[in-house]
């Protein structure tokens, strides 16, 4: 049913994205973010994401409190924490969708509001109306809107690029279906294709693997890896502790405040998990298992 993207597609993807940079009308990437064509993680480059002293509150009730976080380039970052820990809020605050009570966000060393064209976003699947009268291709095309700016319509180049992105997630055959006719996993992959179409440098994904079938989860994971290999950074809100060590190089443990962040091997420990989740045995058991497996594989 689902064809996993060919592994050879990864360089193709990054090639396409590089050439995208040179298209007329495409905004320039900041000079410091590329060093001689190599991915931005090169030494001396500013970190991909810097969050300083971020507090977000709804009517004075804190959702995120005093979060300081720095993410270095080219990695897959899992954002993990219990329900209501502020994981989605963190993403929304970075994207400027909720106003923080205090704090600042920098992307590639500059104010995040001026770096919007470098950001790709995959919202939760339930956040949109799947009865909406658009085709799958239309949705993916929406990813190109940010670079087009106001008033300009997507042209042939954008259509081809959107189709390319769809092909990449194995949905080219579904391009002209109405989005409501897709299965849950296919809908999620449509969103991923849309994020690819954004040609971003850093991606924020809100629970992309929630409620999808195993095949889709595999496709998403291999896509994440391709993105990393193409020099991108992907931050993923994730709920399944067992797969965290398999999927992510770095983890951010969040529960209203930042419990820990860093390389998965160092941070994803029983101790830190207890500080994040407290004494919820079932979760901790699953996590303990995951940690043990991780140890074995190292």
């Amino acid at each position: 049913m689902s064809t996993a993207p060919r592994t050879s597609a990864a360089p193709q993807l990054s090639m396409a994205q590089r050439t995208g940079q040179n298209e007329p009308g495409a905004r320039e990437r900041p000079a410091e973010s590329t060093v001689g064509g190599t991915p931005i993680a090169a030494a001396g480059a500013p970190p991909v994401l810097e969050i300083h002293d971020m507090t977000v509150a709804y009517h004075r009730r804190p959702v995120l409190w005093d979060v300081d976080l720095t993410i270095e380039g080219s990695s897959l970052v899992g954002i993990v924490g219990p329900n209501g820990a502020g994981k989605s809020t963190l993403i929304k605050a970075v994207l400027g969708l909720v106003p923080p009570a205090s704090g600042s966000v920098k992307l590639f060393g500059q104010d995040a509001r001026r770096q919007r064209h470098l950001v790709g976003y995959v919202p939760q699947r339930e956040s949109v109306d799947w009865d909406f009268p658009v085709s799958v291709l239309d949705v993916v095309l929406m990813g190109t809107y940010g670079r087009l700016g106001w008033f300009r319509r997507p042209g042939r180049a954008e259509h081809e690029w959107a189709l390319e992105c769809l092909r990449h997630v194995g949905l080219a055959d579904f391009a002209h279906r109405q989005i409501g006719q897709l299965s849950g996993g296919q809908q999620q992959r449509t969103f991923l294709a849309r994020a690819l179409a954004q040609r971003a440098e850093v991606y924020f994904m809100d629970e992309p693997m929630a409620g999808v079938d195993a095949a889709t989860e595999r496709v998403i994971f291999s896509l994440l890896r391709e993105l990393r290999e193409a020099g991108k950074t992907v931050l993923v809100v994730h709920h399944d502790l067992r797969t965290v060590p398999i999927y992510f190089d770095q983890v951010v443990l969040l529960n209203m405040r930042l419990v820990a962040s860093g390389a998965t091997g160092h941070v994803f420990t029983n101790d830190n998990l207890r500080k994040t989740y407290g004494g919820r045995l079932d979760i901790l058991e699953a996590a303990g298992q995951a940690v043990a497996e991780q140890r074995r594989s190292v």
Binding site: K92, L95, G96, L97, R116, H117, V119, Y121, P123, S127, V128, D129, F132, P133, V134, S135, D138, V139, M142, Y145, G146, L148, G149, W150, F151, R153, P154, Q178, G180, Q198
Partner: protein, 450 residues
């Protein structure tokens, strides 16, 4: 028809044109309201602009002045802002804040209307029935032709709306589908929302000319809802909505001539009639089509149960292949009732069964192939369940009975190869249709799981 259009001094022509322009404006913007689930905001806005409309008429002293639109837009935006701040600052639930704002502003408008309306020839009936009845009489020359005075602003608003939708097509679509992504990309969803509301306020005034303020919501929502039933693309939806808008103008006028029930209500009712037709007969979403699909699925499943039974009976006692099985037993295998009574003739019509003597039924060659595929699906599934789940033997039949109707050939092939092409199911019965004794029975059951 053309005769009618001109024989009356242009009454029909101009009335229909005015109404069509207004309806079209409403219908186009209504599509966005509907998709953003803001239909009731459209309703609230159409009531809330009344004080603005009355003030505009009062200031300008005429029914076709830009002032009317300007002050209506101002009131509309004020109402939107009030609704939002009641919702945000006052923490009033969204529907209640709409209710509070629009009823209060509408009441204010009625009071203004009663106080100053007489001076500008505007009365309470205008709010209900619009100004369309006599609009064709008040004309002014344009390019050597007498054209109704009210038509000019309406055409202007329609042009502005088309321009608005055309220029901001992708932005409006994105903000309606995924407001967060729009904001994250730098297209402020809030700005677009207020722009849209300003346009809706304008459309409301346009609708006021044609159908009166209270019925504007019909012209905003009903064509858009019809469009949504008939198309699954935004452009298609708008095209259908536009069709409903224009045709309801023409048919509404015609119906008024016949029934003397007011142009405005008749336009709303014609639109409502078209909506109802779409609701029942729309190709994919229509109630009739969906009922038919459900029925044919039911009949297919019952029919498959019947041929499955016939196959198993013959398998147990090959002599019955020619003699057939009593019709009564066939009906019972199909669960009895009208479904089975419908399924049996359907099977005969398809050539899967034939009538034998003494009201007995037997499988034809085609029916046998179809039944074999079905039984194969059933037994493969039983084998799969038996191998992969630790279920007792008597728990295998029921899930298989359900699943057999949905397994497609590709999935069957996968199951079969995963089980290393078994010959027997867990009950020890032969699984028919394996390649070595291939009998070609393929796809009785092509449908995928829903």
């Amino acid at each position: 028809m053309t005769e009618m259009l001109f024989s009356d001094g242009g009454q029909a022509l101009w009335t229909i044109t005015i109404a069509a322009a207004a309806n079209l404006t409403c219908a186009l913007l209504g599509c966005y309201l509907l998709l953003r689930r803001m239909s009731l905001l459209g309703d609230a806005l159409s009531h809330a602009v009344l004080p603005g409309v009355v003030l505009g008429f009062w200031i300008s002293g005429s029914t076709s002045s830009a002032w009317v639109f300007v002050s209506a837009i101002a009131t509309g935006l004020l109402a939107t802002l009030l609704i939002q701040s009641l919702n945000g600052l006052g923490q009033v639930a969204e529907d209640a804040s709409m209710g509070v704002v629009f009823t209060s502003l509408f009441a204010l408008g009625v009071v203004l209307l009663v106080k100053v309306g007489a001076r500008v020839d505007l009365d309470v009936d205008c709010v209900l029935f619009g100004l369309i009845d006599y609009a064709w009489l008040n004309t002014q020359p344009l390019w050597g032709r007498e054209v109704p005075r009210d038509l000019m602003p309406l055409v202007g608003v329609l042009a502005a709306t088309i321009l608005f939708v055309g220029l901001l097509w992708k932005e409006l679509k994105l903000a309606a589908f995924d407001a967060r992504l729009a904001t994250a990309m730098g297209f402020s969803a809030t700005l677009l929302h207020y722009l849209l509301m300003a346009m809706v306020a304008q459309a409301t005034v346009a609708g006021f000319y044609a159908v009166g303020l209270v019925l504007v919501v019909a012209m905003l929502i009903v064509p858009a809802a019809t469009g949504q039933l008939l198309s699954d693309r935004l452009a298609g939806m708008m095209a259908w909505a536009a069709g409903v808008a224009v045709s309801s103008a023409a048919l509404g006028y015609w119906a008024e001539m016949k029934l003397e029930t007011g142009i405005a209500p008749m336009m709303a009712l014609v639109a409502g009639g078209e909506f109802t037709i779409a609701l029942v007969f729309a190709p994919r979403q229509g109630l009739a089509g969906r009922a038919f699909n459900r029925l044919s699925l039911t009949v297919r499943i019952v029919a498959e149960d019947i041929i499955g039974m016939l196959y198993r009976t013959v398998e147990a006692d090959p002599r019955l292949a020619e003699a057939g099985v009593a019709r009564r037993r066939c009906l019972a295998a199909g669960g009895g009732g009208w479904r089975a009574r419908l399924a049996l003739p359907w099977l005969w019509w398809r050539g899967d069964v034939a009538w034998a003597a003494e009201r007995r039924v037997r499988l034809t060659a085609a029916g046998r192939a179809r039944a074999e595929a079905l039984v194969r699906a059933h037994r493969l599934w039983e084998a799969y369940l038996g191998e992969n789940f630790d279920l007792p033997l008597d728990h295998l039949h029921e899930p298989a009975e359900l699943v057999e109707h949905y397994l497609g050939p590709a999935l069957l092939e996968q199951l079969s190869s995963e089980l290393r092409r078994p010959d027997l199911d867990p009950h020890g019965k032969a699984i028919p249709g394996n390649p070595e004794r291939a009998s070609g029975g393929q796809s009785a059951t092509a449908a995928r799981p829903p």
